[in-house]
């Protein structure tokens, strides 16, 4: 059910710019973010959860696999350990470059401010919405019990 929602396609509302402003321009200081957001707490940031210049451990691979909901065989874990470590090594090479003066790239397209007006359009019929549901009950999607938070 690839939707024909072209009306939601961008209306170019603002100016375009080829450079995305650097982080500093946002007035965002590293002290701003509370614990839940702090870079230093985020394991995906360099130096926090993963060791960059060394190979990934088996546990690292299992952790990432779990986050991606992938079940890996022992052989696959070993293979991924090698391949993912190789990727990280490439980044380690890149990291040696001095990027002090280079604004971070958050986006590869030179567009900004693509917005919609707040005007409702028809949604999809419920039968289309539930077409790919593995299980349906009435007009709901049915899933295995989810623990109450």
């Amino acid at each position: 059910m690839a939707g024909d929602n072209k009306g939601d396609r961008a209306k170019q509302n603002g100016r375009t710019s080829s450079t995305i402003p650097p982080r500093a321009a946002a007035g965002v200081s590293d002290g701003l973010l509370d614990e839940g957001y702090a870079w230093t707490d985020a394991p995906h940031r360099p130096g926090a959860g993963y060791t960059w210049s060394m190979s990934l451990t088996r546990d690292d691979v299992l952790h990432v696999a779990r986050l991606a909901r992938l079940g890996l065989t022992d052989e696959e874990v070993e293979r991924m350990q090698g391949q993912l470590s190789l990727i990280l090594e490439q980044f380690e090479t890149l990291r040696r470059l001095d990027t002090e003066q280079v604004p971070p790239t958050f986006q590869v397209f030179a567009t900004t401010n693509v917005f919609r007006d707040d005007e409702p359009r028809p949604s999809f019929p419920v039968d289309d919405v539930l077409q790919n549901a593995p299980l349906r009950e009435g007009d709901y999607l049915r899933v295995r019990a989810v623990l109450e938070e």
């Binding site: 690839a2 939601d8 965002v28 701003l32 917005f115 919609r116 707040d118 005007e119 419920v126």
Partner: protein, 486 residues
């Protein structure tokens, strides 16, 4: 040892936009049949493209301005990854390190008059999740049903600094924040319906200590009262642990409303490994200063400014000003009535009294909001016109008001129909006085013998004879003259 609490609040407020945050589906999910306001975008189908709702961004920036935030030159959206069935895409579009608003503050007034400045770390925009219903079927199998309608509706998150010190301060902060959102018209702020949700972070430390203790996050509080109670409970629980020399583990606890305690929640493994990264489908938001100023110009007068104007320009008391601004629609009602007043601002005090006492007591008794109040501002003003012109005494005006509330008819119509117009004609009042004096010679004698209370007795007789319609000031004056002269 004495401990002080360090409290920070995270509020999620639903925005009152017509459509969702990133698609054009209706955001009015509350009364919609399940899965009826859903499209491939909010369902997270591959190949779809989210496009941000301009109004939601405007609302968020306005909120930031109202909270004295800095609006950065640009902001961006990020993906927050976590696997849970209420997220159709496997991630939530949120804002990580470049939110729309940063570094604001909100000042609360404590009952003793102290003012406390509570820092606002950030205000950002994200999307709400789908609703899960937990069921057990006939065979006893537990399962969950998903209604995607709410998924993708705009949610604004307001994060405070850990500047709050007591449960009462937390409640005052929330009340004030909600009032501001309602004045701005960006959120209904209804806590029971979940359009205004609050999580609290709380830690304890010995008084005088500046470092923070272990932070406990409390969830599932769905009223101001439960926030206050949950924090009180948590302070007692943590104090007890600390006094017994135990450590407080950093954890998330859920408030159990009917039991009145918090309980540790099974920590979701890897729950905080959100792996935020910039949302590649949404270009950055560049906020030029003209945009910010345009929004600033559109902002209504906020409660603090209004309260001050009521005191300084209209001469209302502190109490009256606070009462009127507590609810935006009450303030609007007051201002509409004042605008209709022929007596101009001179009627402010009288209108304030009527609204705070008479109108509010009907609202409370009937459990309705002022929008549904049968007497409109112009109607209340008309009633006060009759009082000021001398056509009605305040006492009779109260009866007329009650009839207006009951029947929805105008003050003038009720006064004419029931012949309630105040008698200010000397001749008619004098006739009633003569009759009262003739019927109560004893009272007349008493008065002349020095018993001034007898005047009140005769006054009462005159009022009774005229069914309360005689102009009281006139009656009293004529009665004194009459008793003194003959």
């Amino acid at each position: 040892m004495r401990y002080e609490a360090v409290i920070g609040l995270e509020v999620h407020a639903q925005l009152v936009t017509k459509t969702k945050m990133f698609c054009s589906c209706s955001a009015a999910y509350a009364d919609a049949p399940p899965n009826s306001t859903v499209c491939p975008i909010c369902l997270g189908m591959p190949g779809t493209l989210p496009v941000a709702n301009k109004r939601a961004i405007d609302f968020t920036i306005m909120t930031g301005l109202a909270l004295g935030c800095t609006i950065p030159e640009w902001a961006k959206f990020d993906r927050k990854n976590y696997p849970y069935p209420d997220l159709m895409k496997g991630y939530q579009i949120s804002q990580y390190d470049a939110p729309l608003c940063i570094n604001g503050a909100l000042t609360i007034s404590l009952p003793d008059g102290t003012r406390r400045r509570i820092g606002i770390t950030r205000v950002h925009l994200e999307e709400d999740t789908a609703r899960l219903l937990h069921r057990v079927d006939a065979s006893g199998e537990a399962h969950s049903l998903i209604d995607v309608n709410r998924a993708g509706t705009p949610l604004m998150e307001i994060v405070s600094e850990p500047d709050l010190r007591t449960p009462e301060e937390a409640k005052l902060y929330l009340q004030k924040l909600r009032r501001i959102l309602r004045y701005l018209g960006v959120s209904s702020g209804n806590m029971e319906e979940g359009s205004f949700r609050c999580d609290a972070n709380i830690s304890l430390r010995p008084v005088g200590e500046t470092a923070f203790g272990a932070k406990v996050e409390i969830k599932n509080m769905n009223s101001f009262a439960s926030v206050e109670r949950a924090l009180e409970y948590e302070i007692a629980r943590q104090t007890d642990l600390l006094e017994r020399g135990e450590r407080i583990p950093q954890e998330t606890r859920g408030w159990v409303e009917d039991k009145g305690y918090t309980v540790g929640q099974r920590s979701k493994e890897h729950a905080h490994d959100y792996r935020y990264f910039p949302e590649p489908d949404l270009p950055p938001v560049v906020i030029d200063r003209a945009w910010v100023e345009r929004l600033r110009a559109q902002m209504p007068e906020l409660p603090d400014e209004k309260e001050q104007r009521y005191r300084t320009v209209l001469g209302l008391s502190d109490y009256d000003a606070k009462q009127l601004v507590a609810d935006r629609r009450t303030a609007e009602y007051f201002e509409q009535a004042l605008a209709a007043s022929s007596a101009g601002n001179g009627r402010a005090k009288a209108l304030a009294n009527w609204i705070i006492n008479d109108v509010n007591s009907v609202l409370n008794a009937r459990g309705i909001e002022i929008d549904a109040f049968p007497v409109r501002p112009e109607g209340l003003n008309e009633l006060l016109d009759l009082v000021d012109s001398g056509a009605l005494s305040v006492k009779i005006a109260r009866d007329v008001f009650a009839r207006m509330v009951e029947t929805g008819r105008s003050a003038t119509a009720i006064v004419e129909e029931q012949g309630l117009r105040q008698i200010s004609d000397d001749t008619i009042v004098l006739q009633a006085i003569d009759a009262a004096m003739a019927e109560n010679p004893k009272a007349v004698e008493d008065f002349r013998a020095g018993k001034t209370a007898a005047l009140d007795f005769l006054f009462g007789k005159v009022m009774k004879a005229t069914r309360g319609k005689a102009n009281p000031q006139l009656t009293r004056r004529l009665l004194s003259e009459k008793l003194g002269s003959s």
